[in-house]
């Protein structure tokens, strides 16, 4: 994650500090937001509400995890939410058709993995820009979901598909759903994979400087393809999370999911030019958005002003990134 290097015994400048720990900025923003909302409302700092905020961020937070991987390779995925919606419909329709929940779940995930493989192959073999590939796929998958569902929403009754949202236990008085637990495990697993394994180092290297990565013996194409496949698995699990939250597969749902996931990743300190970003930062980024929405709602702030605030925060985050980079150079 660290791209800045320290010369001798010099103390790091603020810029270097932010570059070395990209999650610090969003963590600070999160802290400030929580303090402000806790003081200005008496409903925000409530264990049930805090749990709720996390539950509300789960789908975008999971999508953002896959998005982080792709953005690390200097790519972008505009079709992740569309693929997820298609997967929710596949799962729901299979269950309605009599298939057991576990098979429906697995086949839904297989579908998103196949979509990931197609995207990855187009990006690596034909060298198409990820922006174009996923823009095209966004249209294709959205239409496919509507065709597949004949425009109708499909209610989900299967207990396994709803499991992530309905099953909960108490941890220190805080209600924790299985969806929250799974998301945490996924974040931990990916954090480990990215920071402690050769694969993770390859992902960063490929995003930073593909040519040098290739010269140092990293199989660039294979690494990028693997990223799209892993992201495909994550999108499939996001579909499961979505059904846990709203047990109703709707072809019109999550129209902004792709942009929300990009927002979370960028707020988390990742660079859209690749090679810089972290799983922890993305988690903070997703939580910042959810905390803002929840807190501002409880203050009675109009939803459109909430959009203004989120957008301004995003631009602010990129400004911090620029500032940090200029300090470094």
């Amino acid at each position: 994650m660290a791209t800045a290097t320290l010369k001798g015994n010099e103390r790091p400048t603020i810029g270097e500090f932010f570059l070395r720990a990209p999650a610090v900025g969003p963590a600070l923003a999160l802290l400030v937001a929580i303090v402000v909302f806790s003081l200005s409302t008496d409903t925000f700092l409530d264990l049930d509400n805090l749990s709720l905020v996390v539950q509300q961020s789960l789908v975008v937070g999971t999508l953002a995890l896959g998005q982080t991987l792709i953005i690390l390779t200097a790519g972008i995925d505009l079709a992740n939410a569309a693929a997820m919606v298609l997967a929710t419909l596949i799962m729901a329709k299979l269950v309605v058709g009599g298939v057991s929940g576990i098979w429906a779940l697995l086949l839904g995930i297989v579908a998103t993995v196949v979509i990931g493989m197609v995207t990855g192959s187009l990006v690596t073999r034909i060298k198409l820009p990820p922006f174009i590939v996923t823009l095209g796929l966004l249209t294709v998958l959205t239409a496919a979901a509507k065709l597949f569902a004949s425009g109708q929403a499909v209610p989900v009754a299967d207990s396994l598909l709803k499991w992530l949202g309905t099953r909960r236990y108490l941890f220190g008085g805080i209600p924790i759903t299985y969806g929250m637990t799974l998301a945490l495990l996924m974040y931990l697993a990916l954090w480990y994979a990215l920071t402690r394994t050769p694969w993770g180092k390859h992902v960063y290297a490929v995003g930073n400087a593909p040519e040098s990565a290739r010269l140092s013996g990293i199989k660039v194409n294979r690494t990028i393809l693997s990223v799209y496949i892993v992201a495909g698995v994550i999108v499939g699990i996001a579909a499961w999370q979505a059904l846990g939250r709203v047990p109703n597969a709707d072809p019109n749902a999550f129209q902004l999911g792709n942009l929300d996931s990009i927002t979370a990743v960028v707020l988390g300190g990742a660079s859209l030019f690749g090679g810089r970003g972290s799983v922890l930062g993305t988690m903070m980024g997703a939580l910042v958005v959810a905390v803002l929405r929840s807190g501002l709602t409880q203050l009675g702030v109009d939803a459109l002003y909430q959009d203004v605030a989120t957008g301004a925060l995003l631009i602010g985050a990129v400004c911090v990134d620029r500032f940090a980079r200029r300090q470094q150079s």
């Binding site: 402000v36 004949s150 709803k162 109703n248 019109n252 749902a253």
Partner: protein, 339 residues
């Protein structure tokens, strides 16, 4: 040096933001029990979006009714039509804030049933406005336009204008599969005396309720045939798009077109002759009756039940014997949106 000043600035900003937040922000309501009976009404409204003029009217009417009846009021919405996740979030946040009645126009008739169920189990009165849920027993009561009946009225009017001539019909539909779309569509066919398989239907296009999509869709249909004498549009923005396409081909005088909604702009369209009739709905009534039910529930714990039809009326300046209607003057007095 630079580092320290930046840190100081950040801290100062944080403190300022905190104190401003604490001092000037108007609190809506605190947490507490959601159950009704013997208390003050805390009404939450959840609409599909908060930018559509129809929902703006619904919200304004609910807010006015809440103020007139001493009820607390908070309105939330999804970000786009179909944003089930956003509506579930809104329900959760309203419950968190202690609402004892939630009025909701569900984005999809099955989308938010789970969250509604949770709210009702917590003692919250839930009333569907405008759009019914499936099953309708998922909510305590539904205050809405009977959309099948609104469609039927439009179909009956168009049939009466055709005066026995066999219809040659274009149908401009809303979002494929949505409940309201289906009810209006089938109601219209019933009113005009056709079925989906009738050869009298010369073309259908879904346009998601959107004006420019409707225009494109009808332009494309007109490439196939211009031999039509009747047009169904599912709402007024699509009626305007359809009119633009028909006008460009010089067809507007050879046909009768109807729409549904009763927005002030739509009534003016009827007055100016863009289409022959529109069927008005009454979002203000839905909102007011919803708030009154909330006040009643908070006072006595009594819940309304079942489907309450808030009515619909044909608006036209070319009345036809046998079809009950109002003129556009009446329409402009009773329409919703900017007059």
């Amino acid at each position: 040096m630079r580092q320290r000043s930046l840190l100081a600035l950040t801290l100062a900003a944080a403190v300022a933001a905190t104190s401003v937040g604490a001092c000037t922000v108007e609190r809506h309501w605190g947490g507490g029990s959601n159950a009704g009976g013997g208390g003050k009404a805390k009404v939450g409204l959840v609409t599909k979006t908060d930018t559509n003029p129809y929902f703006v009217e619904l919200r304004a009417a609910a807010k006015a009714a809440a103020e007139a009846n001493g009820a607390e009021f908070n309105a939330l919405a999804g970000q786009f039509d179909g944003d089930n996740d956003g509506q579930v979030r809104a329900i959760e946040n309203l419950m968190q804030q202690g609402a004892n009645t939630i009025l909701i126009t569900p984005s999809s008739s099955t989308g938010v049933l789970d969250a509604i169920d949770r709210a009702r189990k917590a003692g919250v009165l839930v009333i569907a406005l405008d759009t019914a849920t499936e099953p309708d027993t998922a909510v305590d009561a539904t205050f809405a336009t009977d959309n099948f009946e609104a469609g039927r009225q439009q179909g009956a009017y168009v049939k009466a204008v055709l005066a026995g001539k066999p219809p040659k019909l274009f149908m401009v539909d809303g979002t494929a599969g949505s409940t309201v779309d289906t009810q209006r569509h089938t109601g219209f066919l019933k009113g005009i005396g056709l079925t989906d398989a009738s050869p009298e239907i010369k073309g259908k296009t879904p346009a998601n309720g959107d004006q420019s999509l409707a225009q494109q869709g009808v332009e494309n249909l007109l490439q196939r045939t211009t031999d039509i004498n009747a047009v169904y549009t599912m709402n007024e923005p699509m009626g305007r798009g359809t009119y633009a396409a028909l006008q460009a081909r010089g067809l507007v005088n050879q046909l009768v077109m109807g729409s549904i909604d009763g927005g002030c702009e739509g009534v003016k369209n009827v007055r100016d002759g863009q289409y022959a009739a529109t069927v008005m709905q009454f979002p203000k009534k839905m909102a007011e009756q919803g708030v009154l039910a909330a006040v009643e529930y908070a006072k006595t714990g009594k819940k309304p039940s079942g489907f309450v039809n808030t009515g619909s009326a044909v608006i036209t300046d070319k009345p036809i014997p046998g079809v009950e209607s109002q003129d556009t003057k009446w329409g402009l007095e009773n329409c919703w949106g900017t007059k």
